[in-house]
Symmetry: C2
Subunit: 118 residues, 2 copies
DNA sequence: CTGGATCCACAATGATACTG
DNA sequence: CAGTATCATTGTGGATCCAG
């Protein structure tokens, strides 16, 4: 293995930067279920702004993790889907969100304990 | 499952925010190998500033993922280690860094293709 | 060695308005 | 519907100096 994320100049750092992004994780999670249109995505990911969603999708598309398909309907329909490359990543990303949901109680308890002792 | 990361106000979002952090991922990865002292950690995680490392460790400690042990040596020695709770997360985090290292080529190719067509 | 405190520059984000 | 453009604001990180 010649790449090492622990070296600053290593290109894998760029990839990790991309993955270690709250919104990217959520977008990939949604697209893993099925292809979704822009505004539907915006509705389903509570709290994301249209600007940030747009930026996130563009980055993911550039990295080859997400595909963008335009349909010439009126008005135009744009559908985002996960690519085969992106698919190889979704199980890991899903594990992250699942961990958050399963261990939130323990984390909240730890925080309370920490805050009381401080 | 009553928690849902796709809802903005859900506490799991806070956890995801913490995990979806480049530095937190790298710190957890290092601590998974063995307990490490502050400056050693700083040396091994290329590019992290002392301030950010300090902040990251404090957050991880507050969340109960990392423990901090002080030894009354001269000068003082502080050792950070992963907790049992943190241990349940490291396999997922490791998968993330591993994916980055294994798929960097594909991502870089996708980026070049994207940039040429744009 | 292990940080805390400060100052500062830049990036990220929200809000709003507008276009095809 | 699916975005882009702009601005105002905040946050975040880096650099530096200092202290227990």
């Amino acid at each position: 293995m010649e790449y090492d994320v622990y070296i600053q100049t290593c290109p894998t750092r760029l990839v990790l930067d991309r993955l270690a992004d709250k919104w990217a994780v959520l977008v990939l999670g949604k697209l893993d279920e099925q292809p979704v249109r822009f505004n539907q995505l915006k509705r389903e990911i509570d709290g994301i702004s249209q600007k940030v969603l747009s930026q996130t999708l563009k980055k993911l598309e550039r990295d080859g993790l997400v595909s963008r398909s335009v349909f010439a309907t009126v008005p135009v329909t744009v559908e985002y889907a996960i690519t085969p490359l992106g698919r190889t990543l979704t199980s890991t990303v899903a594990a992250l969100t699942r961990w958050a949901e399963e261990n939130i109680e323990a984390v909240l308890q730890a925080q309370q304990k920490y805050d009381r002792s401080a």
